[in-house]
Amino acid sequence: MADAKGIYILAELDEGLKPTSLTLELMGLGQRLASDLATDLNAVLLGSGAQAAAQELARYGTGEVLLLDEPALSGYHPEIYIEVLAGLLRSRPPLVLLAGHTSMGQDLLPRLAFALDCGLVSDCVGLRVEGEEVLFTRPVYGGNALATQRVETPTAMATVRARVGDAPSPAGTAAAVIPLEVSPPAQTRLEMKGKEVLSGRECPLEEAPVVVSGGRGMGGEEGFGQLREIAALMGGAVGASRPPVDSGWAASTCQVGITGKVVAPDIYIAVAISGSTQHLSGMSESGKIVAINKDPDAYIFKVSDYGVVGEWKQLLPSFTAALKELPKV
């Protein structure tokens, strides 16, 4: 392998073929790391019809944007992606490769790390440079502790959570977009047989400025109707802790926490949620946290900015009514 150099961001695109907000956050993080390590910031983009996105990413980088544009790469296929990426990274080993801790990142980076024998830190909530190396911080024991880790291979890989980095400002010099030839493998062992999208009760949680979540204490599906009304009034989305998802009161796509979505809205309202570490791991970075719980000793109050002790059935109607009456500012 050649000498490892540069910071590389594995970009992801949304359905409109634009870089996702997490990808841009990673470019922001990458700028900081690249400047601290006096190296270049690069991006790798796999997709189909991704030329415009590559140009946008180039505004934030200082090195190169490697563009692998090819119909076979339009959707994530583990074996195709790994083959293409492993080849690329063998010839251009990075100092650090960052990907989002997304559905794809969680599946792809471990495969890549083991294929290339590189250390990988998953689910990072913090990165910093100390001396010549990058230190990665991540939750362990369900979020009861934070471990800071170093990678002992020349290339370090990490998957990073949403909202760890800040959206970037354009770098002084734009990176060069370099289209590369792609030869996807002729045969794969995994066969993708199609997707089933759960529609109807959709929760675009990650982007919502307000998240109103219900927990086990909601006792059933009906209460979630009230949470939806509040969310609609506040321009937000409905979330849930795990028990309502397990019981089918809320769609699994609504789950917030260490094995659900990680959110950091301006306002997070937790109704009838006790505040387990697993839940807190998914929302403790929110701007303001509001808790409604009938148990005055519930741990959620310790991690909230506003709290009301009481039965949600008695509190939510007047809360909702007062919201409706509130004069606009």
Binding site: A147, A291, Y299
Partner: protein, 266 residues
């Protein structure tokens, strides 16, 4: 013939234990669980449940449970085995303490253990361990065994000489197939592990168990790591909470809106 399933199950301190039971030893870079029992990692229980469902719907299925660690509780393993496993393989040793091993060393050691378990058609892991939260070992194991891997299963079935998996996506799921042998990591959506009967727990003592030590695997864990923990800290999440009250609950609900408006939160 027949179908051999291996389930990799790790013991962890009960992740639902209160935060105060997780004692952080910053000097030794260790988390020590106080006053909470060890349990099988919840997602590994889901993996065992997935294996049981395959066993119920197919002929000649044999399940082997593999667990590696320091001071594995025999009672916890026995209870899991009693659910319906046909054999268990434990790898024990002081240097297998979870805090001493990273995911890379764990995957290498498990791969060696799997090789000692006899043949396999399907390996099931949990999507992630509750102590590491890493989600790496399953994919690493598959890579080391040279078999295809599918992550985040909400449903696992065997059809012909392949495995069919419903894989959880942020907005639904996708169906993925792989030829056997293959590895699948299992998510909570599969469903809770069934309970064994008391009778089955008693009978489980007779189910064959192999215990290996590190020497049997012929690997030195201290050379296998790729990632090292250099600091451990408690998360600082606590905030000052303004408690909003009222003469009646209705008033408290209204007062909450007023307090949020007064502080310009809304």
């Amino acid at each position: 013939m027949g179908l051999n399933i291996i389930v990799c199950a790790k013991q962890v301190p009960d992740p639902e234990g209160p935060p105060s039971s997780f004692e952080i030893n910053e000097a030794e870079l260790k988390v020590t669980a106080r006053g909470i029992p060890p349990v099988i990692n919840p997602f590994d229980e889901n993996a065992l449940e997935a294996a049981m469902r395959i066993k119920e719907s197919h002929e000649q299925v044999s399940i082997t449970l593999i667990s590696m660690g320091k001071g594995i509780s025999k009672a916890v393993i026995l209870k899991a085995v009693a659910v319906g496993a046909d054999a268990s393989l434990l790898v024990e040793g002081d240097s297998l303490d979870a805090s001493l091993l990273d995911s890379f060393a764990t995957a290498r050691l498990l791969a060696a253990a799997v090789a000692r378990a006899g043949g396999y058609d399907l390996v099931l892991c949990g999507r992630q361990a509750a102590d590491t939260n890493a989600g790496l070992v399953g994919l690493g194991l598959a890579q080391l065994l040279g078999i295809p891997a599918i992550t985040l299963a909400q449903k696992v079935d065997v059809a012909g000489d392949g495995v069919v998996v419903e894989r959880v996506l942020p907005d639904g799921y996708e169906v993925v197939e792989a030829p056997l042998p293959a590895l699948v990591t299992v998510s909570g959506e599969v469903g809770d592990l069934r309970y064994p009967s008391l009778q089955a727990i008693k009978a489980a003592k007779a189910i064959p168990q192999t215990v290996l030590g590190l020497a049997d695997l012929d690997l030195d864990p201290s050379t296998l790591g790729r990632v090292r923990t250099v600091a451990l800290a408690a998360p600082s999440r606590e905030r000052r909470c303004k408690m909003v009250e009222g003469e009646t609950p209705e008033e408290a609900g209204r007062n909450l809106v007023l307090a949020l408006r007064q502080d310009k939160v809304i």
